[in-house]
Amino acid sequence: MKRFAITVASAALIFFAGYAALFIAPDESTMHAIQRVFYVHVALWASMYSALTIAFVANVAWLATRNIKWDWLGVSAVEVGVVSCTGGLATGVLWGKPAWGIWWTWDARLTTAFLLWILYIAYLLLRGLLEDPQRRATLSAVFGIFAFLDAPLVYASNRLWRTQHPAPVMFGGENAYLDPTMAKALMVCIAAILPVMIFLLMDRYRLERMRHEVEELRLAAEEQAADANSAVTRSTA
């Protein structure tokens, strides 16, 4: 019931957000229609940063409490974050070419986003290569913490670098002015994407929990079979 309610609420929000982005928000002076990608684009970044922050909290919590549920939350959050980031990068590239004539530029925000994308894909790769669940949880948590600490450093270093090597700035730069109606439409879009993110997060978490439960059941079954076997061998010895 809860799941159904969230699904309906998210869908409604997304519908309204889409409507707002397409029809309520005013037309942008230079780019016109293509600019409307901005609403999805920024919303995806909001989703990514929230997801990665949740992942960081989960990583720390796992190391502190050793409750495996934090590990489930961590991997779910990272996956959602990576997906959001992929979407953000893709919408950015698609927007950039028609709007500014370039696919990409190495400014602080874009570089940070790209690097975070790589870092968290590396996180998932690391998990795939570690087999023991406890060790996998612990070591990926350590890496996740390092990655999260690295993010502001990446941003700062790129900002510093950009002041020395100015380059085309996309998306209106760091302190661009935003029309009030556009800002409201943006808020709506961000508010719409966060429930979607949480929804995906919860689903992924459930998947992880079910994998764990299946594993527990399998172990219990094996143990019963082993006990039955040893009882047989003892009685025949």
């Binding site: 190391l63 590396a122 450093l153």
Partner: protein
């Protein structure tokens, strides 16, 4: 026993082991040399171009060499499970990590000391005037490299494909370090060399942040 004392004992052990075989050092020096030569085909090593691209080339070569060299750091302890013996001793996990960080720093520093002059000769860049300041930049950058690299060497020691995994984990994390080190080096390569305090402070900050993180998380790195 204090972590510093234990780290010093372990450092002596690492140095003794490495200087007996010299496999790691030789490999690292040759690798960087190859990279330096290959890069000469990528652009024409006139003095002006060398000043522009040299810093980036050098640091990329060091990063790659470093990430290759760091892998054996913990892998060598797996041969006879000697890491078990170290973990059982009444020393902290941080001491074990610190000992390896210091050893890796020394190895990489030796490689750099050999290769920077070679680079200067091959690319016609005069570095004698800035030698001292360059050493400072190299030291701070290398420190960041070995701090994170040693930690990730421990992280990847038990994973499959660990030789490939280590650079994959390490290089993205080091992106800010690369920017800072290259910029600081570039300002020393310039016609009027100057020590860029901003980038130097950034490097120092990077080193402190990750050394602290390593200290806080070291127990988790070595546990089973």
């Amino acid at each position: 026993m204090s972590a510093a004392r234990a780290a010093a004992i372990l450092l002596a052990k690492e140095l003794r082991l490495e200087f007996r075989t010299r496999e790691l050092l030789t490999g690292t020096v040759i690798f960087v040399l190859v990279v330096i030569v290959l890069f000469s085909f990528a652009f024409d090593p006139t003095a002006a171009d060398s000043r522009r691209y040299g810093p980036g080339l050098l640091w990329i070569a060091f990063l790659f060499a470093g990430s290759l060299m760091l892998h054996p750091s913990f892998a060598r302890e797996q041969a006879n499970q000697t890491l078990d013996a170290l973990r059982m001793a009444p020393i902290s996990a941080f001491a074990i990590l610190l000992g390896k960080m210091l050893a890796n720093f020394i190895f990489l520093a030796i490689a750099e000391a050999v290769l920077v002059p070679v680079f200067a000769v091959l690319y016609n860049v005069s570095l004698t005037a800035v030698a001292g300041r360059l050493a400072l930049v190299l030291a701070l950058g290398t420190l960041g490299l070995v701090i994170t690299g040693t930690v990730f060497s421990a992280v990847s020691a038990h994973a499959r494909m660990r030789e490939l995994l280590l650079p994959l984990l390490l290089l993205p994390i080091l992106a800010p370090l690369l920017i800072a080190a290259v910029e600081a080096t570039a300002s020393l390569f310039a016609e009027q060399p100057a020590l860029d305090r901003t980038w130097l402070t950034f490097l120092g900050g990077f080193d402190i942040v990750f050394l602290t993180a390593s200290w806080l998380l070291c127990d988790f790195l070595l546990e089973e």
